[in-house]
Symmetry: C2
Subunit: 444 residues, 2 copies
């Protein structure tokens, strides 16, 4: 079984547009990505990256979202990927264990150099990218992420190059080679979580995809079987045997963008803390207590369920995107869980001191809900007050996640909250008309 060639063939021959739910989900994905990227347009990191890109120079080919400038195709893929993921406000996917749209959408947008829209095929390519990234996530095995790889980075380049291949309908040979170039440049470390580099790893994967397809189409020589065999991608980064079973099983019969589906975020922080956020907000709604009354907060996860939450004592709001302690503290302090709370601004000493009351607990015995998102996950937030009272709340499917999904209207509100109603409405219209070129132009 030749995984690389068969993946290329599946990507080129499948017809995702036959599934109307997949098309609708892809439209929601484009809408949500606009909100995530435009919310980050004043980000400090993007200013530094823009300056570095300008220092290198390059053709003015593709706009950078919210920056009023065009840069080269590769640079645009990198910068737009960074922007979509900058605030961790973009979609996630449980099979990927990472952020598909932050890599796939910018890689596809970088193909729109001539101002013409690809229309339906743009959506079809996006669905394909999510499909491949989800399948790569499942095939690479759980240990990949747990060891410290950042799936968005390590899986994103191959997925996005497949999306580009589908968009441009390249030959099977070109796509197999492009997968090889992308695979041999795949990287990204969770060690970078909580820094500017985390979202840049999404952007770099998008850039690698654009570059890898260009290399392949130029006739530059490369392996056409990078996903295969003992020295192949899965052997190096994960589990070859698992990949051989799962990567292509039933390709095209159903679409991962629908099931398990994209998860659009209600809160601008790591999705692994969203269950806890829903739980604490609901406890605060249902009960009356002050922050001084709280003796201890236990946040109970299945083992490994908090792996992405690498910050236990964050110093800034940015680090706090990966801290369930900070999220709980914000809520109990009565502060909104909104973008302003997750900037580079220092967390107050008072809040940092209070955060010590939050403990993480791992529970092997509690049975996960069959529809839990991600699979096998739950979070129980249990408060113990100084008077001995305990109250607790369990969440299996947080708001925004598949099974508890945001509607197009909800996502439109998310866009409006960032851009104002008029621009949001225009973006929605471009997406509904399938006008990807107009969509890109509107991300200003």
């Amino acid at each position: 079984m030749e995984l690389t060639k068969q993946l290329a063939e599946s990507v080129l021959s499948a017809h995702p547009l036959q599934d109307q739910r997949a098309v609708e989900m892809a439209r929601n994905g484009l809408l949500d990505a606009a909100a995530a990227a435009l919310a980050a347009k004043e980000d400090e990191g993007i200013q530094k990256l823009m300056a570095l890109v300008e220092q290198e120079g390059g053709a003015a080919q593709i706009p950078v979202i919210g920056q009023g400038k065009k840069v080269s195709r590769q640079a645009a893929a990198m910068l737009n990927g960074y922007l979509i993921h900058a605030l961790d406000y973009d979609d996630v996917h449980s099979d990927v264990r990472g952020h598909p749209s932050a890599v796939i959408i910018p890689a596809l947008l970088s193909q729109l150099t001539d101002g013409e829209a690809y229309g339906d095929r743009f959506l079809s390519a996006y669905i394909t990218g999510v499909e491949v990234m989800a399948r790569l996530g499942e095939s690479i095995g759980k240990a990949h992420y747990e060891r410290g790889w950042h799936n968005t980075g390590t899986l994103g380049a191959i997925a996005a190059v497949c999306a580009i291949g589908h968009l441009k309908q390249v030959s099977q040979k070109e796509l197999a080679k492009a997968i090889g170039f992308a695979g041999a440049q795949s990287a990204g470390m969770r060690k970078q979580f909580g820094t500017d580099m985390k979202p840049l790893q999404a952007g770099l994967a998008a850039k690698t995809a654009v570059w890898s397809m260009d290399l392949a189409c130029s006739g530059f020589g490369g392996s056409e079987s990078v996903l295969d065999g003992e020295l192949g991608f899965f052997s190096l980064y994960g589990d070859q045997k698992l990949a051989e079973r799962r990567l292509l099983e039933g390709y095209g019969a159903a679409w991962r963008i629908v099931s398990p589906g994209l998860w659009f975020k209600v809160y601008p922080f790591c999705s692994a803390a969203h269950h806890a956020a829903d739980a604490i907000l609901s406890l605060l709604k249902e009960h009356t207590f002050s922050l001084e009354q709280v003796k201890q907060v236990d946040v109970i996860f299945p083992p490994g369920g908090d792996a992405a939450l690498i910050e236990r004592t964050p110093l800034t709001g940015e680090e706090g995107r990966f801290s369930v302690e900070y999220v709980i503290a914000l809520a109990v302090f009565g502060q909104p869980l909104s973008l302003d709370a997750f900037t580079k601004k220092a967390i107050s000493p008072e809040m940092r001191a209070w955060m010590k009351r939050v403990n993480r607990v791992y529970d092997q015995t509690t049975e996960p809900h069959p529809d839990a998102v991600p699979k096998g996950r739950f979070t129980i937030v249990k408060l113990t007050l100084f008077d001995g009272t305990t109250i607790s709340k369990r969440v299996d499917i947080p708001r925004g996640a598949p099974g508890h999904a945001l509607s197009t209207e909800d996502i439109l509100k998310k866009v409006s909250s960032v851009t104002g109603a008029s621009q949001a409405q225009q973006i929605l219209q471009a997406v509904e008309e399938g006008n990807d070129a107009a969509y890109l132009k509107l991300l200003v």
Copy 2:
């Protein structure tokens, strides 16, 4: 023990120039890299890469070797790295198990934007890069390469960013962060051996180094401890415990560029076949036999000693760079083991048929020579003729390798054979004067 910060501190505070042998070896390295790169200037791959770089656009900052054009700093690092390694004619280092100069030299050359020479500090930075890459190679463990990573790519970016840090004397914090950016973008697969992508992986590591240092110096946020801990670089790519013991042990007491030392190549193919090449050439000199008389050739390695020689039935000379079968056949057919034999040209059916007489044999019982290069390696070439005669030759240290090293004069001849005597003499003079800017200008 914080590996990342301590590595940064060691790199910034050591004084390699105190060791005159290291300085001389660095000069030889610059000279040899000139030969390797200029020999590749008509390569097809570089034309394709140049066209892609021009399509992206960019400032004209640094010359591309042999191409008569300047491109941006990052693009130059990539293209010059590609060129040095394109023909596999560049130096190797046994601790690295790969090609240090193809990554480090182009990354350093990309810093020469203002036409001023760094002089001694350029040499010092180059020695530092080799030092770090050798230590990374030792620290990451043997299994890294054996699993399928391409050490030149995976170790090169961190090594080259350390070289740049030393050259520019950045702060410890900047270097620690730059190491982090480089680490999180490190990649490269042996699966690409025998294709254009192999040398490009060297170039991409050089480019990543240039970019990572720029990112760090711009104040972009990143981890300052990417080499550390359970989620760190060594845990992901190799062996964290080994790295903690080896990475910094005795840093600065002696220099790896001298011992075990750079290995300058006599032949333009993978160094793992150089022992066999010396052996067969010496058998041909000492005995008289024709190719028809040869019934069987056994090439005897210690187990794993031929891991880099991934081609057993190469179709082209380019693939033949990684085939001991092809090298033996060339010699027995009386053809010179020179650049012309390792191009994209197809190997003749006659020679391909004859190559089936060559077997690889693995021998666990033979004791390696204490000074063998690489450590633990030997190759025995044993010919069996149809008349029953057997003759054999063992090589432990091939020509060009440390212990059997090329002199400056030998390397000058290698340069002359590519450039002609006059340009070679000028390059030598620039190197001897420590004029790195003049050196770069001469690589036309």
